[in-house]
């Protein structure tokens, strides 16, 4: 399937015509609705909250936030940001309850620290992987976005971003940027391996009720398998065993021992323990 991200920048792609089509299509509405309810499940909000909707478009997901039943902790109050004026125009016509901003999330998130209880983003952040002019880079846009988002969430807040990465490079670029900004991050994949697979980037800001790491978010949810890449990496490290005589770790250890004894030891650098190049 063609990716709109490859055709035009978002503010131009979603023109009046495209925005209306997007909002009217019952197929898209159904998919959006199911992704929003999944995101709400991951956010696990217990009381009426203040939520930021990133790339809110015509307010399809925001509408659901305002409609969460009282028994389930709603209804929530939300603020939406989107870069496409046409999409926001459709949102105005639909009279959504949230407050709307015409803004580029790649330029940051202009709110006071600790403003929001949670943030939600449906099918938006893959757009950040495209730089439309030479004075911005995808990395810079992702960095500004995640740093702004991290600051604007309160301690213990969560963000769930559903996104469509083009490939694994984009996927790791996005999750890497989130981790760099300070988030605890994990990716939840629904229907993996199928055409309709959906990725949710789940982000937590420390200091809240969540004990342990990011995998605690899915505690108590059915049909979720936890694949922990960190554990695997730790096992590989462990399997290597003690340093062998002559390798870098062994040399560094020896140097430290000698330094402790008061011997003069050459400084260590990245070249320590490397073989010399073959000389003619």
């Amino acid at each position: 399937m063609s990716r709109p991200e490859d055709i035009l920048p978002p503010d131009l792609f979603y023109n009046d015509n495209e925005s209306r089509k997007y909002t009217k299509s019952s197929r898209i509405r159904n998919i959006q609705a199911s992704m929003t309810s999944r995101a709400l499940e991951l956010l696990d909000l217990k009381s009426p909250s203040f939520i930021l909707d990133l790339g809110c478009g015509s307010g399809l997901s925001g509408e659901m936030l305002s409609e969460v039943a009282e028994e389930e902790g709603g209804p929530h109050t939300w603020v939406g940001m989107d870069i496409s004026p046409s999409m926001l125009d459709v949102a105005l016509q639909r009279e959504v309850e949230g407050d709307l901003f015409l803004a580029d999330i790649g330029q940051g998130v202009p709110f006071r620290p600790g403003t929001f209880d949670a943030a939600i983003s449906i099918s938006a952040i893959q757009w950040l992987c495209n730089a439309e002019s030479s004075d911005v880079s995808p990395e810079g846009r992702l960095r500004r976005f995640f740093e702004g988002l991290y600051a604007s969430l309160r301690r213990g807040g969560r963000a769930v971003c559903q996104f469509y990465p083009k490939n694994d490079v984009q996927r790791s670029m996005i999750s890497g940027a989130a981790i760099k900004a300070g988030f605890g991050a994990g990716i939840l994949e629904d229907d993996p391996g199928t055409k309709s697979s959906k990725l949710y980037l789940v982000l937590t800001v420390g200091g809240g009720g969540l004990t342990g790491d990011i995998t605690g978010v899915v505690n108590g949810m059915d049909d979720v398998n936890v694949l922990d890449a960190r554990r695997k990496a730790a096992e590989i490290n462990h399997a290597r065993g003690p340093p062998r005589k002559g390798d870098k770790a062994w040399i560094l250890n020896k140097k430290e021992q000698m330094a402790k004894k008061g011997k003069v030891v050459k400084a260590s650098s990245k070249y320590t323990g490397r073989k010399r190049r073959i000389a003619f």
């Binding site: 203040f50 709307l100 580029d104 006071r112």
Partner: protein
């Protein structure tokens, strides 16, 4: 734009991030509108600790409302339904539909049209 949002939004310009003058943004030529919304005491109680009261006083002054009490209602005052209803009316039902938001630090103005604030920046300010 609701008044509650105006209590949280700051200037998006990079150099203003560190300046205290970039919050709150000041309203100019604001046109107001009241829109009915269901009253939610729980939400008001949740959000009130995060409201910057001084900023709210400044904003409501600029919008021409009667002045608010000196200090934020806390503790037992929150059991008074009238207080919460007044806050609900000011924070959630009052919308600024047209006007400008101006940063006190860099002087950049953000236009508000039909209730939507334009926070798109030219790239040299990002």
């Amino acid at each position: 734009m609701k008044v509650i949002t105006a209590n949280f939004v700051t200037c998006a310009v990079k150099d203003c991030k560190t300046s205290p003058a970039s919050f709150p943004l000041h309203f100019n030529d604001a046109e107001l509108e009241q829109q009915e919304l269901d009253f939610q005491p729980e939400f008001i109680r949740n959000i009130l600790p995060r409201i910057d009261w001084d900023a709210l006083r400044t904003i409501s002054n600029e919008l021409g409302f009667p002045s608010l009490p000196e200090s934020k209602p806390e503790g037992e005052a929150l059991d008074n339904e009238q207080t919460l209803k007044d806050l609900h009316r000011l924070l959630l039902e009052t919308h600024v539909t047209e006007g400008k938001l101006t940063c006190g630090n860099c002087g950049h103005s953000y236009m508000i049209k039909e209730g939507i604030a334009n926070f798109l920046l030219p790239s040299h300010l990002v």
